[in-house]
């Protein structure tokens, strides 16, 4: 009843408080020092925003991205890095079927806040340009349009652990014949409301933003890539299972290996990137494998109010991907 193809991580992409691209994330985390943070706009809460890119982003010339939210910019940059130019061209030509899975915690909050502010001021003058950009699946739609992908594009929402649920869904898509690859993107953007909201739960919270992307492909010959070995069951917080209990249970599902990437591995340096945090953990873990810093690595994550989940990635034999 089952086949055993390797699920290969065929591409990685990241935008984080450490900068644009996987190398920036790698260097930022290697330094082991918290990045500088700034006060929230109303002097409540602290945040580590994504720095401005060194050069204008070429993809922003695409007609659909002209007015897009920051979260779409981050997601697009991370996705293009993960997909690479060759595949991007094949997707446009219809020669590569790409599924897109997008995960969020908060969504397009900047435009939502702006639009609702206009509604409260005078709904008859609220901008029809802003409203569509507030919808949860707007970034996935923009990304699909920019890549020219007409295959399935799903947006999943939930707490920050949702990302690995999306990876699991991607695996089920890859189990069929409809997709050459599935891009799984976790992204988030900062705004004053979510910055202040974080302080309601943790006085010294430092929130952040960005995007992480993994491109998954089904590949029988996986040499030189990282592969997914295991995804734990999703441990929903319910029936007496607390967040701590869920994390303890998670460890029983993923036996110890060379190294683990937990939230504590990234958050003190980058800040809590909310819906992007687990995606960045996964990208970092796969990057460590490809940098030959370990052979096997666990990623563990406990979301804020819904679930805990983890995964084990491993490096297969062969040359590391050219970076």
């Amino acid at each position: 009843m089952t086949s055993t193809p390797s699920i290969v991580i065929a591409g990685l992409g990241a935008v984080s408080a450490a900068g644009w691209g996987v190398p920036a994330l790698r260097e930022g985390l290697r330094a082991h020092a918290p990045l500088s943070c700034v006060e929230g706009p109303r002097q409540r809460g602290r945040m580590r925003p994504v720095p401005k890119p060194d050069a204008p982003l070429a993809f922003m010339r695409h007609v659909r991205l002209r007015r897009c939210s920051p979260v779409t910019r981050y997601a697009t940059a991370a996705s293009l890095e993960a997909v690479g130019e060759e595949r991007a061209a094949a997707i446009k030509e219809g020669e590569y079927q790409l599924g897109i899975l997008f995960t969020f915690m908060n969504g397009c909050v900047n435009y939502s806040n702006r639009f609702y502010g206009e509604v409260l001021a005078d709904p008859s003058l609220a901008s029809p340009i802003l409203f569509p950009e507030t919808v949860f699946n707007a970034p996935a739609s923009h990304l699909a349009a920019m890549l020219g992908s007409r295959a399935t594009a799903f947006t999943l929402v939930g707490d920050s652990a949702q990302y690995l649920g999306a990876v699991e869904l991607a695996l089920s898509w890859l189990g069929g014949d409809g997709y050459d690859g599935v891009l799984v993107v976790g992204a988030e953007e900062l705004d004053w409301l979510s910055t202040e909201a974080a302080t309601l739960f943790q006085r010294n919270a430092v929130v952040s933003e960005g995007a992480g992307a993994l491109l998954l492909e089904k590949n029988g010959e996986a040499a030189g890539h990282s592969v997914i070995e295991r995804i734990s069951p999703t441990l929903t917080y319910h029936r007496g299972r607390s967040r701590c209990q869920a994390m303890a249970d998670l460890r029983t599902h993923l036996s110890p290996v060379d190294r683990s990437v937990c939230q504590d591995s990234l958050t003190p340096i980058l800040g809590d990137a909310m819906g992007a945090s687990l995606a960045l953990q996964c990208v970092h873990a796969c990057d460590l494998l490809e940098q030959r810093e370990c052979q096997r690595i666990n990623v563990l994550h406990a979301g804020g109010n819904q679930q805990a989940i983890g995964a084990r990635f491993a490096l297969t034999l062969g040359a590391a991907r050219e970076s």
Binding site: M1, T2, S3, T4, P5, I7, R42, F104, S112, F115, Y116, S124, A126, S127, P128, L130, F131, P132, T134, V135, F136, N137, A140, S141, H142, A144, A145, G148, S149, R150, A151, T152, A153, F154, T155, L156, V157, G158, D159, E168, L169, L174, G175, L193, A197, L200, F201, V227, I228, E229, R230, I231, P233, T234, T236, Y237, H238, R239, N305, Q306
Partner: protein, 418 residues
């Protein structure tokens, strides 16, 4: 659900998927009976919205649900019950009905079924309240943490799970107006491909000011009466509600002697990259979605007895969907019965696809067709048989379309249980 590379991805013969429970809440009322009666009668339940101020909008009509004061707590604590927002209550009414109808209990709880729900706004009304207090009384933090926690879509679904004592993995699909259909389609595939034995799926959305004002800003709301597929249609009415179905493998449903309400035969989806809010005028992705669902169900246009159209009543949607149906049906188009229920309930956004899936189950079980309301002059695109008055019909396969912002297109094919 979990993944182990040593065991690989499931392959092999796809399994049949039965629907053994269904729950529905719309402006027509709570539950199967109230809704079936209203749909069958061709009733409109639109009214003036009372939940928020619409005095400065171009219209104030919508499909608002009358909710009872008290909701059955089941396994919720008193504190949890006191915190339920409107979206949670809508979902719970539908979820309870579906659960009870399926007759699920401890055996099903122990399977930790996946809960796949669709929504486009979650608990947005709480998010609005948080924003208003943060802006207007920015030093007051009273109840703000609760609002932040509960406005997130996982809260409504967690409430339902807690009330029913279910601890399975939760997946929340937010593909705009296709969310509910995509959630059911996703759950259907989990069972069909052997990744789950049972699943609970559906969608919900509650009316809220931000979304209402948003549709009004786009001039998508009708300022007269919503009349999908009428040549003079001028927009939609928003509604609220929830639809939930309980899915299980056909074998399991038969073995336990469950009443099978219908079968999910196929699911298809496609992304329309034409524009963020406007469909491709020829409905290219809509057609692809319908073709994919029919291919999976192993049927063609000649076997589809009824199409529950997305049929919002906006000028662009209906003509694109009509064009897609024409193209998909080819020479059979005159024989295909089509209608939209949105003229009577309003457009339920994230709940639309699941509510309309439940409607299709009603049609299959009771052998009738609901009408498209308020149509005086059918649009020229209606070369199909537009159902304008309630009628009895012999139905074996029905198809339901859900198309959303961002180009999310989803189609389900449902089959009469035999």
């Amino acid at each position: 659900m979990a993944f182990d590379a040593s065991k690989g991805l499931p392959t092999g013969e796809p399994r049949r998927v039965a629907v053994t429970g269904a729950g529905i809440v719309t402006a027509h009322g709570l539950g199967w009976e109230a809704n079936a009666e209203a749909f069958r009668r061709g009733q409109s339940s639109l009214s003036t919205i009372s939940l928020f101020d619409t005095s400065k909008q171009r219209t104030s009509q919508g499909g608002e649900v009358t909710l009872p004061e008290v909701i059955d707590a089941r396994q919720l604590t008193g504190r949890q019950r006191g915190r339920l927002d409107r979206a949670s209550r809508l979902l719970m009414h539908a979820g309870y009905e579906a659960w009870d109808q399926a007759g699920w209990g401890e055996a099903e709880r122990s399977l930790q079924p996946p809960i796949i729900m669709g929504t486009s706004a979650g608990g947005m009304a709480l998010g609005e309240a948080y924003y208003r207090q943060a802006c207007q009384e920015d030093r007051r933090r009273h109840r703000q943490a609760t609002r932040v926690a509960l406005y997130q879509p996982q809260s409504q679904v967690l409430h339902l799970c807690q009330a029913l004592g279910v601890a399975g993995p939760i997946r929340i699909v937010s593909n705009a107006c296709a969310s509910g259909a995509d959630a059911i389609g996703h759950a259907f595939h989990l069972i069909r491909h052997g990744l789950a034995e049972i699943a609970m799926a559906g969608g919900y959305d509650a009316l809220c000011q931000l979304v209402f004002a948003g549709f009004d800003s786009l001039q998508a709301l009708s300022t007269t009466i919503p009349r999908p597929f009428d040549a003079h249609r001028d927009g939609l009415a928003l509604g609220e509600g929830a639809g939930v179905v309980m899915l299980e493998s056909w074998e399991r449903a038969q073995q336990r002697g469950a009443t099978i309400l219908g079968e999910v035969g196929g699911y298809g989806n496609a992304t329309d990259i034409h524009h963020l809010t406007q469909p491709h005028p020829e409905g290219v992705a809509a057609r692809a979605s319908m073709e994919a669902a029919c291919a999976e169900a192993g049927v063609g246009p000649a076997e589809i007895d009824y199409i529950n159209a997305h049929g919002t009543g906006t000028p662009r949607n209906d003509v694109a969907e009509g064009a897609a149906i024409q193209c998909w049906a080819g020479s059979h188009v005159e024989n295909v019965c089509v209608s939209s229920i949105k003229g009577g309930t309003g457009h339920l956004l994230g709940g639309a696809g699941s509510v309309e899936a439940v409607l299709c189950l009603m049609c299959l079980r009771e052998q009738w067709l609901p009408p498209s309301l308020n149509v005086e002059t059918p649009d020229a695109v209606c070369t199909f048989d537009l159902v304008r008055a309630p009628r009895d019909a012999k139905l074996t396969h029905v198809l339901t379309n859900s198309f959303g912002f961002g180009g999310s297109n989803a189609t389900l094919v449902l089959r009469r249980a035999v």
